[in-house]
């Protein structure tokens, strides 16, 4: 009886080995990313990678999510030891990656960076697919200039100071303030906090100062600002007194746009997986290492339901 049991076990083991060897025709990829709970952006980013690097598309996906750089480093080393074919990284911090990436290179593993750059020599990775936050700001400000308002009195609500998104999205608007084409009514950071954004706008309204544009560096803060406008009976959006601008393209924010409550929403695309997959399979090639992910800006007047379905992040 015992022998029979052992035989069965041995058979099962062999079978499992066979099934494992089947997986060998798949491209084994390791993804090191931040956890989906970090933000709506990240949740969409993680989902994007999980939906592109599937067995149907010819991949065997291994993932690791952490906001801690040292844990990410360990996981990356682990993937190298496991013998992945491709390693993809969105690092928590820009430093400390030299050693791991050199090891990957020596092992013949292709490395792709996405969403965030790392401070390493360019020869250590194949390509980096990233967003250009400064360009996002420029796109938004150019859209605003194209509205041809007689005057621009702007309340500028910033994200957490020093973050990439804040620096990028602030730059273009600051240039306008300096050039004198737009007037800075208030420029305050709400550190991505919706309630704080509401307080900032409320303070301006109570002071009696006039304004006609709200430029919030993410959707949540734009929503907070609009709550303050609503309470004080100031109209906003299409045909309103105040132009409302947000960033990130959450699904619910694009719906506000469609309803005409807001005017503009700038995209920060979390969709890098398809580009990387194309690069791996040789469908696409790139002359430059740093590939800027193309990003759009949506106008309330032209947005369609298809746009919302395609580009909207998260649930509605």
């Amino acid at each position: 009886m015992k022998k029979l049991f052992a035989l069965v076990l041995a058979l099962a083991l062999c079978l499992s080995l066979v099934s494992f060897s089947h997986a060998d025709d798949l491209i084994k990829v390791g993804v090191v990313n931040n956890p989906p709970s970090e933000s709506g952006y990240r949740a969409a980013n993680v989902k994007d990678f999980e939906s592109v690097f599937t067995a149907e598309n010819g991949y065997e996906l291994n993932t690791f999510y952490s906001i801690k750089n040292d844990e990410q480093l360990q996981a990356a080393s682990g993937f190298i030891t496991d013998g992945v074919d491709v390693l993809m990284i969105s690092a928590a911090e820009t430093t400390g990656w030299d050693e791991v990436l050199t090891a990957a290179k020596e092992a013949g593993i292709k490395v792709y960076l996405f969403d965030r750059m790392i401070d390493v020599p360019e020869d250590l990775y194949e390509a980096a697919v990233v967003s250009d936050m400064a360009k996002e700001g420029e796109t938004a400000v150019n859209w605003l200039l194209a509205q041809n308002l007689p005057e621009y009195k702007v309340i500028h609500i910033q994200g957490a100071m020093g973050s990439d998104a804040q620096i990028g999205r602030t730059g273009a608007l600051d240039a306008q303030f300096e050039a004198g084409t737009m007037v800075k009514v208030a420029q305050q950071t709400a550190t991505w906090d919706e309630a704080e954004a509401k307080n900032i706008v409320e303070a301006v309204i109570n002071s009696g100062e006039a304004f006609n544009v709200i430029y919030a560096e993410n959707d949540g803060m734009a929503k907070g600002a609009v709550a303050a406008l609503d309470e004080h009976g100031i109209t906003h959006g299409v045909n309103g007194d105040v132009i409302v601008m947000g960033f990130d393209c959450n699904k619910w924010a694009l719906k506000e746009l469609k309803a005409g409550n807001w005017n503009y929403d700038g995209q920060c695309s979390p969709f890098q997986a398809q580009i990387i997959s194309d690069l791996i399979k040789g469908v696409k090639t790139s002359d430059v290492k740093k590939i800027i992910n193309e990003e759009k800006g949506f106008d309330a007047a032209t947005i369609t339901d298809d746009d919302i379905a395609t580009y909207g992040l998260g649930e509605d």
Partner: protein, 361 residues
């Protein structure tokens, strides 16, 4: 002699509210000098077509609502346990997430769903409150350490509940809770605070909770020897704080019609503890006054609003707030108070002696 004792007792009672009242007075005078129209209140027609009150004063009492509600519960915990709960912000994020989850799950949002959602988030907040309370009362862990656990993991738990980053809700009822009820010019959060204050006052009036809480806070062993279930009283304070947390969480969610588990009532635990301290309550437990804490909450909000009105950069607001708060807390400290009473006593004594001398002549 007994007259004097009574007088001293009386002054002692007002003494507790002295600091927040002085702070209030100073802020009012400062603002009136800076900008006489600061406190002007006007009526406006808001975007939903209601006539509502607006102005800095309204912004202050409205904006402080979550803080005031939390300060009530925090005062109780402080009094009973001689320590503070630092997980209120994280717990409010959990409570708010539960509220949003249920409202979003309902096919049709009506009054009943909102009440059910609130009750569910109340129950959840009370469960987390009793978890904290158990650690403190049964296992005798220091409140700050015990609540550190929920402080660290609370916002992740809040994320799991909804699974998305910023789920939104939209219903006329929730927006009425967060801003204005049609036909009522006062912001709803202000009304909610008033209701909470009344409820707690009734609780204190018709139960022995206040007496028992103070007894436990002043001397736990004496309270136990007198037959008070000290474990129960401490646990109860955390459960009542849980109720406050769920109310504050719901107000926060309804204000914005969205929940961001990372930013909802961010850093509010520190402001809440400050409100209790500015309110003149002993952070080591014992006697307490809810009114002091609520005044403290309004002082903090008034300070923030004043700084914003002065166009202070929001990155600097925290630093300025810290300076003012250090001053308030130092003035309210036992050392300064003792020095002050001594000086007053000396003056009074001198006055009495002079009066006595006169009578002698």
């Amino acid at each position: 002699m007994s007259e004097m004792k009574k007088a001293m007792k009386k002054s002692g009672n007002i003494g507790q509210l002295m600091i927040p009242l002085i702070a209030f007075g100073l802020l009012i005078v400062f603002n009136l000098i800076r900008d006489p129209s600061f406190f002007s209140i006007e009526t406006k027609l808001n975007n939903t077509g209601n006539t509502v009150l607006a102005g800095n004063l309204i912004s202050i009492i409205n904006g402080a609502s979550e803080l005031a509600v939390l300060a009530i519960g925090m005062t109780l915990v402080t009094a009973a346990c001689g320590g503070q709960d630092i997980s209120v912000g994280a717990a409010a994020a959990i409570a708010g997430s539960v509220f949003v989850k249920i409202v979003r799950g309902a096919a049709d949002v009506n009054g009943l769903t909102v009440i059910l959602a609130f009750l569910a988030c109340c129950v959840v907040a009370m469960i987390f409150g009793s978890f904290n309370g158990m650690l403190v009362s049964v296992f005798r862990i220091q409140p700050m350490i015990a609540t550190l656990i929920l402080y660290t993991c609370g916002r992740s738990i809040a994320y799991w509940i909804n699974g998305g980053a910023t789920p939104t809700i939209s219903s006329p009822i929730t927006s009425a809770i967060g801003s204005f009820i049609p036909g009522v010019p006062i912001p709803t959060p202000v009304i909610i605070v008033a209701v909470m204050v009344i409820l707690f006052n009734l609780l204190f009036r018709f139960t022995t909770l206040r007496l028992y809480t103070q007894a436990v806070g002043i001397n736990q062993s004496a309270a136990r020897l007198n037959g008070i279930n000290t474990t129960m009283i401490k646990l109860l304070s955390f459960i009542l704080l849980g109720v406050c947390v769920s109310v504050a969480g719901c107000i926060g969610v309804c204000r914005l019609q969205l929940i961001n588990h990372e930013t909802l009532l961010l850093d509010i635990e520190m402001d809440t503890i400050l409100a209790v301290a500015i309110g003149g309550n002993n952070l080591g437990g014992g006697k307490f006054r809810i009114s002091g804490s609520i005044l403290g909450a309004y002082v903090i909000q008034m300070l923030t609003t004043t700084l914003y009105a002065m166009k202070v950069s929001s990155t600097d607001v925290k630093a300025y707030k810290a300076i003012v708060i250090i001053l308030l807390v130092v003035i309210g400290s036992p050392v300064v108070k003792r020095w002050f009473t001594k000086k007053m006593g000396n003056l009074r004594g001198a006055g009495l002696r002079r009066a006595g001398a006169k009578e002698g002549v």
